[in-house]
Symmetry: C2
Subunit: 352 residues, 2 copies
Amino acid sequence: MKIGIKDIAKQANVSIGTVDRVLHNRGEVAKSTREQVLSIIDELGYTPNLLAKSLASKTKYTISALIPDPASNAYWQKPFAGIKAAAVEIKKFNFELQIAYFDYSNENSFIKKTDEILSSNPNGFIFAPVFYKSSLDVIEKCDQLELPYVFIDVFIENCKNLAYFGQNSAQSGYLAARLMNLSINQAVSHIYIVKPLNPSAPVYHLSLREKGFTTYFSEQTSNQAILHSLDVDISSPAVLFESLDTIFSSNHKPFGLFVANSRVHLVASYFEENKIKNVVLIGYDLLQENVEYLEKGIIQFLICQKPEEQGYKSVFALFTHLFLKDPVKKLNFSPIDIIMKENIEYYKNFKI
Amino acid sequence: MKIGIKDIAKQANVSIGTVDRVLHNRGEVAKSTREQVLSIIDELGYTPNLLAKSLASKTKYTISALIPDPASNAYWQKPFAGIKAAAVEIKKFNFELQIAYFDYSNENSFIKKTDEILSSNPNGFIFAPVFYKSSLDVIEKCDQLELPYVFIDVFIENCKNLAYFGQNSAQSGYLAARLMNLSINQAVSHIYIVKPLNPSAPVYHLSLREKGFTTYFSEQTSNQAILHSLDVDISSPAVLFESLDTIFSSNHKPFGLFVANSRVHLVASYFEENKIKNVVLIGYDLLQENVEYLEKGIIQFLICQKPEEQGYKSVFALFTHLFLKDPVKKLNFSPIDIIMKENIEYYKNFKI
DNA sequence: TTGCATTCCGTTAGCGCACACGGCAAATAT
DNA sequence: ATATTTGCCGTGTGCGCTAACGGAATGCAA
């Protein structure tokens, strides 16, 4: 016996119209009847039938999402897929999703797109605040417009964001270091932290991951590892390979390389070409190319963060807030998955 | 512009009643109009509005689930939680879930409960076929009744089950061996495979996991590991501890222990009490006690299989089949999660 | 007293679908 | 010829809710 507005109306000696008005703060209701109805709602424990609600409701919701262009950034195809999957699911509740892209190495494109989105008056906004300063402007505007916004991938502190979905970057670097250390069985080992950079693109995650990595080793008392940090420009592969040449011909021969983002496949291709073996290679994310090198045994570990899920859940957070009007957890860290050749099989497919 | 039955009716010059009849194979429709309607449904790409459907529909569905009693088996609390979570979600679609329990070490309780469930005529059935022979009987009855059934946790081959949700046990043992091997840096290492047994309870998973574990080491050419298999009775802790005493006082001092199920915390408590250090301990599942020993550093690795998700998805498979009438993937292996002290934080909470 | 806001509230038409009911014509029986 | 069955199909109601519309009661000014 589910309680409906009809039951409330009967109990309160009013019509369903009045009940509806107090439920939605619409129209005018006498204070006394309003309180009467509210108390009965509370007493009977009324919860709306969402199916009937969205069937009858004519109000449409629009959610905008702004992420780096997946066409030129393989990683972002995954949050993109998650967002699209969620979009399909909430379409039946009159939710429309508009996805826009910006150029990861061009702050102006980010600014321009946010302006466009905000002037289209969406009901919710999901974005990756990779450019700190510009993002602060966006955040201020959202706060003024009382537009709920969700951070994805990158986290900015002290904001009124509805939620954040992403990884604890420092901790993932810390874990990578543990895995690297586990693989060490030599007296003295040179470890290289490789940061594949795109000039003019943000490096926020990279430095956090590096920090976590170095922190781990600094905590080890019986530590025989010597860390080297290496920034490489990946705008052309040649430059990257040259840097790697330098390392491998130096007298600090690498025992392991920690590549701080998903470009680890570039390093792996260098390994393959130069027949480098017995060097531990750890990187990030289940890009197709990375998966292949993991299966070949060239990459030993991939750290993954369920990016599809991040996209999916970002959308759902706004749905929960706007439609269900339920509270949303603000800080949502993705699991830090450890992927090896032996368990990759069960992580390949994205499904919710 | 979503296509509804009204649109189809108009296009086919019939009433919505007729459209409804061909959609549900109900009532009598002339063959010619039936084909006409069907072709238009196909042409316009009609998909029913599930919200309106379940709002209007009066048919109730009952799903029964039968699992080992969570009260006496900590592991099964997790699939149980997943099943309950799914039950809440599909309640609005007129689905009711009835959960029954059996005694893991008493085959008769399993038989009795299945009889009860089958005579209650549910629309779908989820169960853990841990007792092979009795399960075959159940399966035969389900097939006769044309009752769709889903296996959870344990898989039986060559059945017409709608789906299976569980882990690839052998592969998880294989992965555990890889992790053990990774931790080995000694010339010759004695490794113990511990199988914590409950007399008269099934041991299916245990042997598969052991098999995977030994397979890995047999494949290693430069293998310095010597494996020992150890069955221990855990009906009383004293017996277990005695067995462990024997190992640790032998002249094959363990380098590592692989405990093939979630009882690894029992072994960990022995380690703690006897101040055993530098012995690699690998086990299964995120039971609260296991988590604590992992955080203390006594357990190094926990292999996890997202049991809540298995429960959740089992229910959803039946929902998909019964309500959406969509095809369901038959073989669904859970990921084999590697949990360490450094990433446990992000696996603790179950959320879909 | 009449006129006209204002405040409050009931009524009603859908939303897309399921399903019972009943109707009309052709086929068959009496 | 009329009565009855049968095949086929349209209509109407309601699921629980939203939201527009309009009506009754009250207050206040002219």
